[in-house]
């Protein structure tokens, strides 16, 4: 029997959460990908750059996740059923080590389709990342697939 996802999550906004970007986390993230670009890893190169400090790989904001556990509980599923369907990042300015950002996540849509492997739910989420001046820094859109 396929599981039923709770459609009540559509439109739900999760409580904003603050993330402070740590210098070491940026480097750990770049190294985990094997992307040894000195603009991510070398403080000297960062200092001499147009940004005045190291910057982050484009996909780094994926590590700003706090609400996933809540979302799974709200949907009525667990991690064993999840697949990543789609992911998008919009970067309005470079993130900087030491800065604190506020992340706000919202569930935009939930729909179901039947694929080759059976019924699946698609959860569309958007997370905005803003700085201390409430300026948008980055936006993430994701589609999480739930095997029903």
């Amino acid at each position: 029997m396929p599981i039923q996802l709770n459609r009540g999550v559509v439109g739900k906004e999760y409580p904003p959460y603050a993330i402070t970007v740590e210098r070491g986390k940026i480097k750990e993230f770049a190294r985990a990908i094997g992307d040894l670009n000195p603009f991510y890893l070398d403080d000297e190169v960062g200092r001499a750059s147009a940004w005045g400090d190291i910057i982050t790989p484009p996909t780094f904001p994926i590590s700003f996740r706090d609400e996933t556990g809540l979302l799974l509980r709200d949907l009525g599923t667990d991690v064993s059923r999840l697949l990543h369907g789609e992911q998008e990042f919009e970067i309005f300015r470079q993130l900087r080590p030491g800065e604190t950002y506020l992340c706000r996540s919202k569930v935009l849509d939930l729909y179901e389709k039947t694929g080759k492997t059976g019924p699946m739910g698609f959860v569309v989420r958007e997370t905005s990342v803003t700085d201390a001046n409430n300026e948008i820094v980055a936006k993430m859109r994701s589609i999480t697939v739930v095997r029903l």
Binding site: K25, E28, F29, R31, A32, I33, G34, D35, L36, N37, P38, F39, Y40, S49, A50, W51, I55, P57, P58, T59, I62, S63, R65, V79, S80, R81, L82, L83, H84, G85, E86, Q87, E88, F89, E90, I91, Q94, R141, R147
Partner: protein, 144 residues
């Protein structure tokens, strides 16, 4: 390794990005990526868990492959150039797989002194199966 800085004028529609080959994927890389990204789903770490979940064994985080294609873009265009990057995950990457990242320039445009280039990006395994497909937009400096 070269960290390119490419000028807007030097890019032509149809240009191909330098190919970036990543892998073979090892468990330790998935463990490092879990720690770095905060995605500790055991489906990427624990073979028994992944089998019990019906996935036939451990597979890589989709985001790791997205990190690879993003690297292919920044190795070519330069760090800090990406304005937008979006992908679909179309197949699973397994342990020992090699992930080859490719790209091609789709369009160029200039508006208010901002010069952007759209590129089609994708990654495939050694079997030729596409695991990621998508698009990125980079802002490049102009010689003018």
């Amino acid at each position: 390794m070269k960290y390119a800085r490419v000028y807007f004028e030097d890019v032509q529609v149809g240009d191909e990005l330098p190919v970036l080959v990543k892998g073979p994927i090892q468990q330790i890389q998935l463990t490092r990526y879990a720690g770095a990204s905060g995605d500790f789903n055991p489906i990427h770490q624990d073979d028994e868990f992944a089998k019990a979940a019906g996935m036939g064994g451990v597979f890589a985080h989709g985001m790791l492959s997205m990190g690879f294609v993003a690297q292919a873009v920044t190795d070519w265009a330069g760090a800090g150039t990406v304005r937008k990057i979006g992908v679909r995950f179309t197949a699973l990457v397994r342990l020992k797989d090699t992930v080859t990242c490719k790209g091609r320039v789709l369009a160029k445009s200039s508006k208010d002194d901002v010069h952007t280039v759209d590129v089609e990006i994708w990654a495939e395994t050694q079997k030729g199966e596409k695991v990621v497909t998508g698009k990125a937009t980079v802002a490049l400096p102009s010689r003018a």
